[in-house]
């Protein structure tokens, strides 16, 4: 019974199941306001700590976390159209609503423009430039500080230079906003028309859209996270960030749906079958594929044992960072693998909720692990790993800083509030998708 379009008339869904009764809108306003306040306080607290570099990194981690959430939700939507999925119209609206945050997420990236503008003047008295985070933005400074690295990085300056960086950032946000707007807008448009043309159009563009998505997230990951250590490179970094997006985005979709169902919405629309499948998505992309990619990246570098590559992992295996690495191995792979592998866990709302929140937390820790560690500049002066590890045994992760969690809650709450407001406005499901009847009746075998 699958594999064909179903042209059955869209089922009449009870309004109380798919339309906000005011509670979601109230929640959206409250969480949005709380987010704005928390972000403001977090920014203030962070700035007052007087370490602009650490402050910028905290901001970047939290920004990449909420960005990954929206990107993961966007790619979920696009996969459904690309594969002509019949099971998912019941749950797709939640993904579209999270993804549609990409319409405005560029606002949170505006500090990059400010840094870029400052950096252009090269004059005293201006604020910090892009080299606050990205050393390649100021080669003179890097040369004075670490000539060997500067020599390597100078060879990359055709790509890693402030102006091209800005242009690329503009392109990323423009493309993402366009894609998210298209997939949210067309889907909402279909709610009023019930037209199959909307479905066809979304399917037709899904292929090119996914290619654009893949290229932009890959290069965005290179630009924002990988180029923090501009001499280091990994061709797997882009797909690693894709896994981060999947982990965070799919988990957020699961948690959102489970909360909506807990509030009494979507009864008879979203069933255990759908949650089971979203659990599979988290398991497949957030747990197994992540581990596959993370290990592949690690093993090739470990095996090759070339200093310019191994330094990145060395920085993540000294002092307290070793615990973060181990926490990711177990918390992002081993434990959720065993936990989520069983069918009944994915179908049990409370357990899947725990799994989703767990993966959100470790997804965030993963971004922290990617962005924050600094490769010690004296790393080349040690003869052995043991000597290096002993000298840097005191390396700290900085995870105790309250500004992190204020900003994290702030940005996360703003995004959740924004998505919730959207859901309250347009309804909780793609009610007139031509495959809605098929989706509601969907069963796993």
């Amino acid at each position: 019974m699958s594999g064909h379009d179903h042209h059955a008339a869209a089922p009449e869904l009870p309004q109380s199941a798919i339309v906000d009764d005011g509670r979601i809108a109230t929640f959206a306003r409250a969480i949005f306001a709380a987010g704005v306040i928390a972000l403001g306080v977090g920014l203030y607290v962070g700035w007052k700590q007087g370490d602009p570099n650490q402050f910028a990194k905290i901001y970047l981690v939290n920004f990449m976390f909420v960005l990954a959430l929206a990107l993961g939700a966007l790619v979920f939507t696009m996969i459904q159209h690309l594969t002509k999925a019949g099971w998912s119209p019941a749950v797709r609206r939640v993904a579209e609503a999270h993804g549609a945050n990409l319409r405005w997420l560029w606002v949170l990236a505006l500090p990059i423009v400010w840094l870029w503008w400052n950096g252009r003047s090269h004059a005293e008295g201006h604020g910090p430039g892009l080299d606050l985070l990205w050393p390649w933005a100021n080669l003179e400074h890097l040369a004075a500080h670490d000539p060997a690295e500067a020599e390597l990085v100078a060879k990359k300056s055709a790509y890693l230079n402030p102006d091209f960086f800005m242009i690329r950032n503009l392109a990323y946000f423009a493309i993402w906003a366009l894609l998210a707007n298209f997939y949210f807008g067309r889907s909402v448009h279909q709610d009023s028309t019930g037209s199959e043309a909307d479905t066809r159009s979304m399917r037709k563009w899904a292929g090119p859209a996914i290619i654009l998505f893949g290229v932009t997230t890959t290069f965005a990951a290179f630009d924002w996270a990988m180029s923090l250590n501009p001499a280091w490179f990994s061709t797997m970094f882009g797909v690693y960030f894709f896994c981060v997006c999947c982990t965070i985005g799919f988990s957020a979709i699961a948690v959102t749906l489970l909360r909506l169902k807990h509030l009494g919405f979507l009864n008879g629309v979203v069933t255990a079958e759908h949650m089971h499948d979203i659990g599979k998505f988290i398991f497949a992309f957030g747990v197994v594929f992540w581990a596959y990619i993370a290990f592949s990246q690690y093993m090739l570098i470990w095996y090759g044992n070339i200093p310019e590559e191994t330094t990145w992992f060395a920085a993540r295996q000294v002092g307290a960072w070793a615990w973060v690495s181990a926490a990711l191995l177990f918390g992002h792979f081993v434990i959720p693998f065993v936990f989520l592998i069983s069918r009944w866990v994915k179908r049990w709302p409370t357990l899947l909720l725990i799994g989703g929140i767990w993966m959100l937390a470790f997804g965030w820790l993963d971004v922290w692990y990617l962005v924050v560690p600094v490769i010690p500049s004296d790393i080349g002066t040690f003869d052995t790993w043991n000597a290096f590890a002993a000298a840097h045994a005191g390396a700290t992760t900085g995870l105790g800083n309250p500004a992190i969690y204020l900003m994290l809650f702030g940005m996360f709450a703003i995004c959740i509030g924004s998505a919730a407001k959207r859901l309250a406005r347009v309804g909780l499901t793609c009610r007139r998708d031509p495959r809605m009847a098929e989706s509601i009746a969907f069963e796993n075998f």
Binding site: M1, M299, Y303, E443, F445
Partner: protein, 207 residues
């Protein structure tokens, strides 16, 4: 529930006049709704050795029949675990030790510790790809193998295939078959029972 496709209907002349043994009873239904309803009542009547044969998947029929979930996933989990451990032990033994070992005093093997790019002999990261692949290999082969085994395959013939009427199981008829080996099977009573379910036709199947 199973879906049968019969390609060569003439290949099933099984008997040459010798005495045949009753294998079961076959009841024919005309609609998915009828067999769905009937399956629930066969389940409630307590039969265990019975099956439905339908030309296309009837959603929910498994549940209606009271088919329990397969235990294949549990078997596959342990197969995967075995693959993973074998992958590790194989490499730890061959590359990590110089131990000598004789299988059944016939095959004599020895470890071959070989230093590769200065890594420790027992380097787990290098072992992971093989451990991973063996996990997948054993899991996949076990899944396929156990699935066939549990389905009673391979088998070359089946008593039902001798029934001309049964050919329509791959076209437009729905069949419930209760096997004679079922402890509740009493030919006359079971036949009446099947008729009472609304079967349009009931006939005996011989082995």
């Amino acid at each position: 529930m199973s879906t049968l496709t019969i390609e060569r209907p003439t290949a099933t002349k099984a008997h040459d006049g010798s005495t045949s043994r009753l294998w079961g009873l076959m009841a024919e239904f005309k609609t998915p709704a009828a067999i769905f309803e009937a399956a629930g009542r066969v389940r409630d009547a307590g039969y265990r050795h019975w099956d439905c044969h339908v030309p296309f998947p009837v959603h929910g029929l498994d549940k209606q029949m009271g088919v329990k979930r397969t235990i294949i996933p549990v078997i596959v989990f342990f197969a995967g675990l075995t693959g993973c451990s074998v992958g590790f032990l194989l490499q730890a033994f061959t590359n990590g030790t110089g131990a000598e070992w004789s299988f059944w005093a016939i095959v004599w093997v020895t470890g071959y510790p070989f230093l590769i790019s200065g890594k420790p002999l027992l380097s787990i990261p290098a072992f992971v790809p093989v451990m991973f692949e063996l996990t997948i290999l054993l899991s996949a082969l076990t899944t396929a193998g156990v699935m066939l085994l549990f389905n009673g395959l391979p088998r070359w013939n089946h008593p039902l295939l001798a029934k001309k009427r049964f050919l329509r199981a791959s076209d437009d008829r729905f069949f419930i078959v209760i096997e004679a080996r079922d402890s509740r099977f009493i030919r006359s009573k079971t036949e009446d029972f099947l008729k009472s379910l609304g079967a349009t036709h009931v006939e005996a199947v011989e082995d």
